[in-house]
Amino acid sequence: MKKVKALVLAGNGINCEMEMAHACRLAGSDVVDIVFLYDILSGEVKLDDYHFLNLPGGFLDGDDLGAAKAMAHRLKYAKIAGSGERLDEVIFRFIREGKLILGVCNGFQLMVKSGLLPGLKGIYGKQALTLTFNDSGRFEDRWVYLKVNSNSPSIFTRGLKGLYLPVRHGEGKFIPKNDEMLAELERKNLIALQYSDPDYRKPTLEYPLNPNGSASAIAGICDETGRLFGMMPHPEAYLYFVNHPRWTREKVPEEGMGLAIFRNAVEYVRKNL
């Protein structure tokens, strides 16, 4: 059987790499490596050797120039020792080869700021939307209900209806370049996740169910291939029932809801790559 290899990026302010790697392992990935950015830049580790790139949450460069902004800039300019290739060129090749990228929170912000999402018409590398300061003006840690768009091409959300996960961010408000773009995202079903009511039925703009004031209640989007996916809430934070904030008072399933995202990814790799 095909060996599934996942790479979880670390370093420079990333801070959810351990639980993200744990999620990949639980989901059945055969190889899970936590790789520091520096080890890719030094040429020691090659992204080409993996199928599934995980961009975890954190504070890349402290989010000092805006969330993930300095890192997006690094992808464009930093070169890999030896080959002289730019980081983004390596990522574009990874995408062309049909592989998977999942960005969570700061990782989603990175995908957006570096133009990996939404990648409309297969064009990557140019920022087309943004994630910026929550309407509350605050960082917030709170659990949210997410309605899954079952028509979305996202391979990560296949078979899911709703998710209950924590958000932990100060810059999660989704703003598209313009209304036409928002309409295109909707038309193509690229809006994979929306903040919703507790029944996972109605997307909502109401605070705190929608914790940041995102346009169209957007919490996560994918590209047209469905293989690139970014979301603000943290699926790797809910792998076990004890992560649920009310496990001591409600019946919750043994397996955490976030794991399904990783299972889908691993299964996709096994079948298709």
Binding site: A10, G11, N12, G13, I14, N15, C16, M18, E19, H22, F36, Y38, D39, S42, G57, G58, F59, D61, G62, D63, D64, L65, A70, H73, R74, Y77, A78, K113, Q127, A128, L129, T130, T132, F133, D135, S136, G137, R138, F139, E140, D141, R142, W143, P166, R168, I175, P176, K177, H234, E236, A237, L239, Y240, V242, N243, P245, R246, W247, T248, R249
Partner: protein, 992 residues
């Protein structure tokens, strides 16, 4: 040349930051403004072409979807007042550092010396303001003038071609560093002038001890040989002052004390620390024998205890009070990233897994006139909260536990307790991880940030009260990302076995870190000119003392230095070899080939004369209130729920990430709506295991007004109660004691010093008695002894305060529980007995009284109850458990119900009590060792059997709906309210 780049939001985009500032101007300063718009300003001072700066401004600095930029001219002109706030020269500018890295990457070259990027924020305000009001907004809200500069311009006087203009806050100094000699053969007055002018915080006795050392013929002979004169150098004197500071040496805790008790009996105490704290831990460990799970206590930067066969837990709590008084944001940020380095610098280094924070402030609605140099408590609250948010969240460490205590006497110095826990493998490459030793020949290596003038005299500054001349240089700003890069690197170096020993650079900087490590091998030689500096112009003593953040000092084997430095370079961490450890017996510091310090290691560490102090205890009597028991206590319950010390702290808790690392399983907020007050937090540090740690704390400074002995006992009991409420394990529970006192040394400044020292003695006695009785050993602790403010005639001293933190190890987190009522029909129990313990209660405070009957802890009875409760929880018999603390039974019942979003009916006639005949006493007495527990009817019998032999009673039940009813002693309704009304009373006060 310098460029000014302005980045602003497009006019169609909501400016959440501007709105927040507007709200604060209106709420905090009572100044009406129409709108506030913010603009980010980058001043790039580097050799660049116009196209290059254009590329930077439109590249890494810009979010093209929502922002626009301008170079060299103002972006906006629609405002009435413009206020720009930036850092003063030399202050850490984290955004500037990141911006610089981005520019360097774009230019594909490193900046030359003197080049830099500086950031500031421009606030454009619309509204009719006077110049005075604009200044108040600048100094009272936007800028902290200690570390920040600001400029105000009014629209009419504004030149639209120039705007605010270009300011480059570069440190301009080209002076050569010099070593000065200091003559100590002078009068006593002159000695003391030197001590105070240089912020040495040394006493005359200590200054004389130093003089005697320098006068010793043997010492003089040796110094002559190495080229030194008869006088000590500034480096030597400063290094001694840091090493001997109260902050580093705990002189009061280690002093000789003559204590006179209430009956006039005199006790001689030879070190409070040895007599009470250390002795208790030693005795508990001895009693545990083979089962002793303490691994390393009191000797390293943090305490170490066993977690399981393969892992150890490391925990340390610190305070950062003095810096937080002057700059709440920077002080608290430095507090948290600073205490991170304690577990990180323990043994061979631990991975950091949780933070805890407890703050003590004056109330946010403080309305008395503020004495000079003090910031308003609300500003301190917001600044400290934000500092801890940035420090914790950006480091990727969950902030899991804490509290906020309010008392007007914290206006002079707020208390900012910051703690960090870590985990490390028991063995690394076959050696115990908690052991470390610098060996002669090992290289002294400094990693992380660079050295500047920041934080100089932090150790000695915090060993004094806040006064007119308190140095502002002690204030600094932490940089969590530089530290995160360093800890990522060092954990890797640790696992590759690239170093022998590690410690952090905190108080005293290199003089302390290298001085401490050099004790292992008995000497060091360090070359100060090798140290990487943020800017030129530091004197050698400043390099030696600087407390610039994000630095660790290591002992690296010479044969491993190549791979060590190579890995550092790859991971973008600066690492520099500063010298080597020796066995010369000397603390030898050189600067440009000349000796700057040459002290005997033995004198440096053991030359400090001991303090001899007097303590006299007297019992204070406070007036007792005389009001009658109100027939309806509904209003009183709401008022107590709205007390700042009782009310919900949700707005603060939510702004901390308490779930990163994926292990938080009992969260700080629990219940039906995820907003009930958890007693403790439970973490699962290893994601593949169900084993966990339970983290809690206790703090009750109000009782200090009556008797610090019982204050201490109650703080210990509260920490343990909280821990047990979540399912903690009394058999493997460790404590941390953090004392914050007001100056307890009798002097002109402190005429009641003997009383305050007696308060300290009594707290220590209680610590010994109760930690022993409960079998909860302290594994680490800290004291901060000068929490006073003294300027002119105004003296503000904090109430004696101890934060007692508890951490216990549980074998299965699935057995842990929460405090919220679970189901209608569940039975409500109270465990423990209620007495007339109204002294120091929140209820009395509500009416302006202190009273005299302070709660006391009966340890043997409490322990028996705790063990029974622990068994019941382990057997799954308990649906919810909440401890009774501030606000007593009434608050505990209300919180249980409102967190569960369920109604409750309770009958006070069933509450086991002794000597109580009033409803208000039953509801609000703060008797210790009590819990409110709910039990499902089917477990009732087994639960009661489990608790047999202890004082407990079934007092009511959980009901459907939302009515909260308490029947009083005379059978009439004493409280009747909707739980959502109660919840509103509890949530409103701090819901900003």
């Amino acid at each position: 040349m310098a460029y000014r780049v302005e980045i602003g939001l497009k006019p169609t985009i909501r400016d959440a930051r501007g709105e927040k500032i507007k709200r604060r101007i209106i709420d905090n300063l009572n100044i009406i403004v129409d709108s506030v718009v913010t603009v980010d300003v980058y001043t790039v001072d580097a050799a660049m072409s116009a196209p290059e700066i254009e590329k930077v401004a439109s590249g890494p600095f810009l979010d093209p979807i929502i922002q626009e930029f301008s170079i060299g001219k103002p972006l906006r002109d629609d405002f009435d007042w413009a206020i720009e706030v930036g850092y003063k020269p030399g202050v850490t500018d984290n955004i500037g550092r990141t911006a610089r890295e981005a520019v360097e990457l774009l230019l594909q070259r490193k900046f030359k010396a003197g080049e830099g990027v500086y950031t500031s924020v421009l606030y454009l305000i619309r509204g009719k303001l006077t110049k005075e009001q604009a200044e108040r907004i600048a100094t009272g809200l936007l800028a902290n003038t200690l570390i920040q500069r600001f400029e105000i311009k009014e629209r009419p006087s504004w030149n639209p071609d120039v705007g605010m203009g270009i300011i480059v806050p570069k440190v301009a100094s080209s002076k050569e560093g010099r070593v000065l000699e200091i003559n100590l053969r002078v009068s006593d007055e002159e000695l003391m002038r030197t001590s105070s002018a240089r912020v040495l915080a040394l006493t005359l006795k200590e200054m004389k001890a130093i003089r005697n050392y320098a006068e010793d013929p043997g010492v003089r002979e040796e110094r002559k040989k190495i080229g030194l004169g008869e006088n000590l150098t500034d480096c030597e004197l400063e290094a001694l002052a840091q090493t001997w500071s109260e902050h580093c040496k705990h002189k009061i805790f280690n002093g000789l004390i003559e204590y006179r008790d209430e009956e006039g009996k005199v006790w001689r105490i030879d070190s409070l620390f040895d007599t009470y704290i250390k002795r208790s831990t030693e005795e508990i460990r001895q009693a545990m024998g083979e089962k002793d799970w303490c691994v390393s206590v009191f000797k390293d930067n943090a305490g170490v205890m066993r977690f399981n066969e393969d892992w150890n837990i490391v925990f340390k709590v610190e305070t950062h009070n003095s810096p937080s008084a002057l700059d709440p944001y920077g002080g608290a940020l430095t507090g948290i990233v600073g205490v991170n380095r304690d577990p990180f610098g323990t043994g061979k280094g631990a991975k950091l897994i949780f933070n805890v924070d407890t703050f003590c402030f004056a109330p946010p609605d403080y309305s008395k006139p503020l004495p000079p140099r003090l910031l308003h408590p609300k500003r301190i609250y917001e600044g400290v909260r934000e500092g801890v948010e940035h420090g914790g969240n950006k480091s990727g460490i969950p902030t899991v536990n804490g509290s906020i205590v309010f008392d007007e006497r914290y206006a002079g110095k707020p208390l900012v307790y910051c703690g960090t826990g870590g985990i490390m493998p028991r063995n690394i490459l076959g050696e115990p991880s908690h052991e470390k030793q610098a060996m002669p020949g090992d290289l002294i290596v400094m990693t992380g940030g660079r050295i500047g003038k920041d934080g100089i005299h932090g150790a000695t500054f915090s060993s004094e009260e806040l006064h007119e001349e308190s140095p502002t240089s002690a204030v600094q700003i932490g940089d969590p990302i530089t530290q995160k890069r360093m800890t990522d690197f060092l954990l890797r170096a640790r696992d590759l076995g690239l170093y022998h020993a590690i410690t952090d650079n905190g108080a005293g900087g290199l003089s302390s870190s290298v001085g401490e490590m050099a004790r292992d091998c008995h000497g060091c030689r360090m070359y100060l000119e090798r140290a990487p500096l943020k800017y030129a112009g530091l004197d050698p003593w400043e390099i030696l003392l600087s407390e610039a953040q994000e630095r660790m000092t290591l002992a690296v084997y010479p044969e491993k230095i190549g791979p060590f430095l190579e890995l550092a370079k790859r991971m973008e961490v600066e690492a520099t070899v500063l010298g080597e450890f020796t066995d010369s017996g000397k603390f030898h510091i050189l600067y440009n080939g000349q000796t700057a310090a040459y002290l005997d290691m033995d004198f440096l560490h053991n030359g400090l004369p001991r303090m001899e102090l007097k303590a006299r205890w007297e019992k204070k009597v406070h007036p007792e209130p005389t009001f009658n028991d109100p027939p309806d206590l509904t209003a009183a319950l709401k008022k107590v729920l709205s007390r700042y010390n009782v009310c919900s702290k949700e707005s603060v808790i939510r702004q901390y990430d308490h779930e990163v690392q994926g292990g938080c399983v009992i969260k700080p907020l629990v219940g039906a709506y995820n907003d009930g007050p958890s007693d403790a937090t439970v973490l699962r540090p290893l994601l593949e295991s169900w084993e966990g740690i339970v983290v809690s704390s206790g703090i009750c400074p109000r009782y200090s007004d009556i008797d610090t002995y019982h204050m201490m006992a109650c703080a210990i009991d509260e920490a343990i109660r909280n821990n047990l409420s979540a399912g903690g394990n009394l058999k493997q529970m460790a404590g941390l004691d953090n004392f914050c006192w007001c100056d307890p040394i009798q002097s002109e400044k402190t005429p009641d010093g003997e009383y305050k020292l007696a308060q300290l003695v009594r707290a220590n006695q209680a610590l010994y008695h109760y930690t022993r009785a409960f079998g909860v050993p302290c594994i680490s602790g800290k004291d901060s002894m000068k929490n006073d403010y003294l300027i002119g005639d105004t003296k503000i001293s904090i109430p004696p305060t101890v934060l007692f933190s508890a951490v216990s190890v549980v074998s299965d987190v699935r057995r842990c529980i929460t405090m919220d009522a679970k189901r209608s029909g569940d039975r409500v129990y109270i465990l423990g007995e209620t007495y007339n313990d109204m002294g120091g209660s929140e209820y009395y405070a509500l009416y302006g009284f202190i009273g005299n009957q302070v709660p006391k802890v009966n340890a043997p009875r409490a322990k028996a109850l705790y063990e029974a409760l622990g068994r019941a929880i382990q057997r799954g018999l308990v649906a919810s458990c909440h401890d009774c603390s501030d606000g007593g039974l009434g608050v505990a019942l209300a919180e249980t119900a409102l967190a569960g979003a369920l109604g409750m009916e309770v009958d006070l006639r069933k509450v086991p009590s002794s000597g109580v005949n009033r409803n208000d006493v039953l509801l609000f007495s703060e008797s210790q060792s009590r819990f409110v527990v709910t039990v499902h009817p089917e477990h009732q019998r087994t639960f009661e059997e489990c608790l047999k032999g202890n004082v407990f009673a079934e007092i009511g039940s959980i009901t459907g709906g939302s009515t909260f009813t308490i029947t009083g002693l005379h059978g009439k309704t004493a409280v009747r309210a909707n739980i959502f009304e109660l919840k509103e009373a509890w949530q409103r006060p701090l819901r900003w």
